[in-house]
Symmetry: C2
Subunit: 103 residues, 2 copies
């Protein structure tokens, strides 16, 4: 069962939700930036600079989180975001390479 | 430039359009069935039995065609559909395996 913040467990991550989340170009940009960074690097949601409005940003990170692509952690006055690299690599081999390779 | 029926050339196939097309579970079913068949097998659009209404079926095959996933050929009173296997394998290595492996 997804946890209180809506993170699915590894076995619950579904291809349909992942593909829907990744159909959006700016959401793919988030994933590509996380892929380029060191393993398990934690970024703040605002650090991507992709969405100016807080509600839009919140929406897009919710889609990524609920699909199982990222993990968000509450850090008081901000939220940290990490890529669920190991979960995604185990569940959908080849997926992350596909996103990383987009020109 | 896409041809008169909206088929993009190989180099024009975009990951965003492909992921959007594949976000729909029944459209993924079409691709999975074509993947399981012999190379270049031609099916009729009605043979999948996934959409009862003609307009719905037409819509979904248009999405698949315009994204570059399938090629449709007019056969007079029906349309044949083939998977663009070589184009997709060349453009997005790993993508077809990802779809084929969905449980």
């Amino acid at each position: 069962m997804p946890d209180a913040e809506g993170h699915p467990e590894r076995s619950e991550i579904e291809l349909g939700a992942v593909l829907s989340a990744l159909a959006d170009p700016l959401r793919r940009t988030v994933i590509r930036e996380l892929l380029r960074a060191e393993d398990d690097v934690e970024r703040t949601c605002t650090s991507f600079g992709l969405w100016e409005s807080k509600s839009t940003r919140t929406h897009h990170f919710r889609v990524l989180r609920q699909a199982g692509l990222v993990r968000q952690v509450d850090r008081g006055n901000m939220r940290g975001v990490t890529l669920r690299r190991a979960d995604l690599a185990a569940r959908f081999p080849g997926l992350l390479e596909l996103i990383a390779g987009e020109r």
